[in-house]
């Protein structure tokens, strides 16, 4: 019987089909196709909700001997939670988007990219094969590139899209390197096959383990916006809000977290892992939370809190303890719920009021009561105030930091600090716009239900799960924890743990958080402060590096591609001299056996002497005509050499062609200017040295070759058969027209082309509209 996992391709195909349906042009702005689009994520959500329990299912659907990859899916607790988040929040986002984009251009385009993104995300969390995972991973980068740059005529959007794809693209490529090393070390690219202890031991003890791990972590960190790569995410807020809500709360940014969670049982039990995750996660969470406090744009605040939350997740995954695993398992869910709600809230406010600046918003409570409730609930959950599900999460975080051997104070301090600031930031978004007097925004009404109901659902769920943790304890969270730790975990989520340190810490967090909120006064001044602080931040540094690199590229390119033929040739010839010289010096013998050589006669000396003088005349003559004539003489002397050494055919041809070349030259020359007369300069020395080096190498090599016995097998065959089989006595000609006739055939083609070329060069005059084609 087919297990549910084997039906995944059908699901993927359906989504793909609908993407194509959406991509086909439509006359109407908000057609039926876009109205029906929420059905796809809803259907998928139901598929994952009902089709699977938390037990692991793996299926190889297609494989090929020669490809390192196979089409295989695995679904376990971790995968299922993510799939549910992706499709569940996706469903709400699609409903929300239908409302948000009403009347806007390119709705279908947006939805098709969103669906593509959902497809990619599902692929990431369900693939069992490393390469497949990578394929979907890149697809998320690409589709998010299109989504972030959705308002493509806006310069800032383009910049953010470029930033996002640069960072995630680089991370992805590096990660691919890591994947391949991992796959090759493990001997398999199937993640599910790496779980047995021997394979894990092989992997972790391999010499390339550390670089491999660093590569994979780079992929995960860039995607999940860890410090110092975090800044692309706040930048990505240029996208339409449904996109931000989807990409940056629930899903894409968590792909990195997913990846870490997925590899945690395989790679987690190593020092590099622990150190890297705890330190980068820790820095990210506190740094981003701090940044969030100084923003005025709601989406910007949310973006930074998201970065911080991702930092928390990475941080927890680094600790590897049961509590930490339980914490992260829960926090993934918690964060998705309230953050998506927040984003939709921010989007709706923006949509209705035209601004997201919290320093300009106030008193929205009266007009938008449901939104206010959503804000409160989300902030509640965000702040970890009981009885929200957020409280459960925060509890577990503190428990795990407190239990961490050696660094418990530091880690706990960092966590508390982060949470204090996050608490305040939550209030900035969920509370601040609603409090106070209604000032600027007249005629505000409650927006259409599609703009607030989806957020409400999430906010309510956040509260519901907090009140009734058993709803998710066994069905969702525990299986996730099992996946992350690689062994059965036993999690009991409960609101009340008694009066202990954790509770005091929670209370401290809430108190100080509220205090912070009261102190914070968002506005231009604070923004200015944080912007100037940013000057030394990683964004500036990475920008500096990238600009530096572009500058370097520019410099190198201008140095190398400098337009001067002489330099090009010098580089090529210099390279030839170096490498050929090395081979000649290292591997040849420099012996000459005089006996093997023929005698020199005075005539030959004269001929060669004339040749030498002519060559020098071509080199140094100031007159072009004299140079050309001397070149002709060089040809003639060669021709005489051919005559002496038994090559009459060659002599005839060389002689005629040499003359024709000289004539051509002469015909051309009288239209050209005289030689540029230049005084002797150092460049002559360099050129001369290279020239002499090449010449000397050729002399040495030819003398060396002449020491070897000649091979005459093929010549003898020709000599034997020229008359008998090919019916000719001039063997050279027989070679030309018969033995190697194909060469000759091609050669006359060359000649014809050259003639056409000459004709066209001189005769063709383009009309104006033909100049560039």
């Amino acid at each position: 019987m087919d297990s549910a996992v084997e039906k995944l391709p059908i699901l993927f195909l359906c989504i793909l089909l609908y993407i194509i349906v959406l991509a086909i042009p439509s006359v109407r702005k908000n057609g039926l196709r876009s109205k029906l689009s929420p059905l796809i994520p809803i259907g998928a959500f139901l598929f994952f909700l009902l089709g699977f329990d938390g037990n692991k299912q793996t299926a190889v659907l297609w494989s090929h001997d020669l490809l390192p990859t196979q089409l295989s899916f695995t679904i376990d607790g971790l995968g299922r939670l993510f799939a549910l988040l992706i499709t569940g929040i996706g469903s709400l986002i699609f409903i929300y988007a239908n409302g948000y984009m009403k009347g806007a251009k390119y709705t279908q385009r947006l939805q098709s990219f969103l669906l593509l993104f959902m497809l990619a995300m599902l692929g990431v969390v369900l693939s069992d094969d490393l390469i497949m995972l990578f394929i979907f991973w890149e697809l998320t980068s690409v589709s998010s590139f299109f989504l972030i740059g959705f308002k493509n005529e806006d310069e800032a959007s383009r910049k953010s899209a470029l930033q996002a794809i640069s960072i995630t693209g680089l991370g992805g490529l590096v990660m691919l390197g890591g994947f391949i090393i991992l796959g090759e070390i493990a001997g398999t690219y199937a993640i599910s096959e790496m779980h047995n202890p021997e394979t894990i031991a092989t992997i972790t003890s391999h010499a390339w383990f550390t670089p491999m791990l660093i590569f994979i972590l780079l992929g995960a960190f860039t995607k999940s916006a860890q410090f110092p790569f975090h800044f692309w995410l706040p930048g990505a807020m240029k996208a339409p809000t449904p996109v931000s809500a989807y990409l940056h709360s629930a899903t894409m940014v968590k792909a990195g977290v997913y990846l870490l969670a997925r590899f945690s049982p395989i790679l987690g039990d190593t020092p590099v892992w622990t150190i890297a995750l705890i330190s980068f996660g820790g820095v990210t969470m506190i740094y981003a939370a701090f940044q969030a406090l100084f923003r005025t744009d709601m989406k910007s605040i949310l973006a930074y809190t998201t970065v911080s939350a991702l930092g928390i997740m990475v941080f927890l995954l680094g600790m590897q303890s049961s509590d930490a695993i339980a914490a992260v398992s829960l926090f993934i869910l918690v964060h998705a719920l309230y953050k998506a709600a927040f984003f939709m809230l921010a989007g709706t406010i923006d949509h209705e009021t035209g601004t997201r600046d919290i320093s300009k918003l106030s008193g929205l409570k009266t007009a938008m009561m449901p939104l206010f409730v959503i804000g409160i609930l989300a902030a509640w959950s965000n702040g970890g105030v009981p009885p929200s599900v957020g409280f459960l999460g925060k509890d577990l975080i503190y428990e795990s930091t407190l239990a961490y051997p050696g660094l418990n104070y530091l880690l706990t301090g960092v966590s508390v600090g982060t949470n204090i600031m996050l608490f305040a930031a939550g209030l900035l978004v969920g509370w601040m716009p609603f409090r106070g007097k209604k000032i600027s925004h007249k005629n505000l009404q409650l927006p259409a239900p599609s703009l607030w109901v989806p957020a409400a659902v999430l906010a309510v769920l956040g509260m519901l799960f907090g009140l009734f943790p058993s709803l998710i304890n066994d069905s969702l969270i525990n299986p996730v924890a099992n996946s992350i730790s690689g062994q059965p975990e036993d999690i009991h989520l409960k609101l009340w743990h008694g009066l202990n340190t954790v509770l005091y810490l929670s209370l401290l967090t809430m108190g100080l958080g509220f205090l912070t909120y009261l102190v914070i006064r968002p506005g231009a001044g604070m923004l200015g402060f944080i912007e100037s602080a940013e000057r030394f931040g990683p964004r500036r540094i990475l920008h500096g590096i990238s600009h530096g690199f572009i500058g370097l590229s520019d410099w190198i390119t201008k140095i190398l591609q400098n337009g001067k033929l002489r330099i090009y040739l010098l580089v090529i010839l210099g390279f030839l001299v170096l490498i050929l010289g090395y081979v000649v010096l290292a591997e040849t013998t420099f012996t000459i056996d005089i006996d093997m050589l023929t005698n020199i006669t005075i005539y030959e000396v004269i001929i060669v002497g004339i040749l030498f003088i002519s060559v020098f005349l071509t080199l140094f003559s100031g007159s072009r005509l004299a140079a050309v004539a001397a070149m002709g003489v060089v040809g003639y002397t060669l021709c005489i050499i051919f005559v002496f050494y038994s090559a009459p055919d060659l002599a005839m041809t060389q002689f005629t062609i040499d003359t024709l070349t000289v004539i051509l030259f002469v015909l051309v020359l009288y239209r050209l200017p005289r030689f540029i007369r230049l005084d002797f300069s150092p460049r002559h020395i360099l050129d001369g040295l290279v020239a002499i080096a090449v010449g000397a190498l050729m002399t040495i090599i030819s003398l060396e070759v002449l020491q070897r016995m000649p091979e005459r097998e093929i010549s003898d065959y020709y000599a034997l058969n020229a008359y008998v089989l090919a019916k000719g006595k001039n063997v050279v000609n027989v070679i030309l027209v018969d033995f190697r006739g194909a060469d000759t055939m091609i050669e006359i083609v060359v000649l014809s082309i050259a003639a056409i070329g000459v004709y066209s060069l001189l005769k063709l005059r383009l009309r104006k509209n033909e100049k560039m084609e």
Partner: protein, 116 residues
């Protein structure tokens, strides 16, 4: 004689290279032609040289009766010569045309296509 020819080859290569490194297009072409001559002579020499034994079967015989020069290098050089003729003719005309259009014989003034 081989030594002399080997030195000649070296000289032809060196001169050709020195000339293609000049700024004048005419010298450039002459350099290429000298290089071509050098390569032809190299083929000729490395195919081994022998005096007075053209590879032509005597009139009254079906095969060679005594030693003969290796005909293959000769055939190769013939092919190479004719090809070079085509290429050189083209190159010479190119120079002419380039001079007409760019108005200079100086290669170092032809750098626009390399600019970013």
């Amino acid at each position: 004689m081989e030594i002399l020819l080997a030195i000649t080859i070296g000289l032809l290569y060196a001169a050709g290279i020195f000339l293609i490194l000049r700024r004048s297009m005419v010298r450039l072409i002459i350099g290429l032609i000298l290089l071509g001559n050098g390569a032809n002579l190299l083929i000729f020499l490395l195919g081994r040289i022998s005096k007075g034994k053209p590879p032509i079967i005597p009139e009254d015989s079906k095969v060679f009766l005594d030693a003969y020069a290796d005909p293959i290098p000769q055939a190769l050089i013939l092919t190479a010569i004719v090809i070079s003729f085509g290429l050189q003719a083209y190159a010479i005309i190119l120079v002419k045309r380039a001079y007409r259009v760019v108005k200079t014989d100086d290669i170092e003034e032809m750098i626009t296509t390399d600019e970013i």
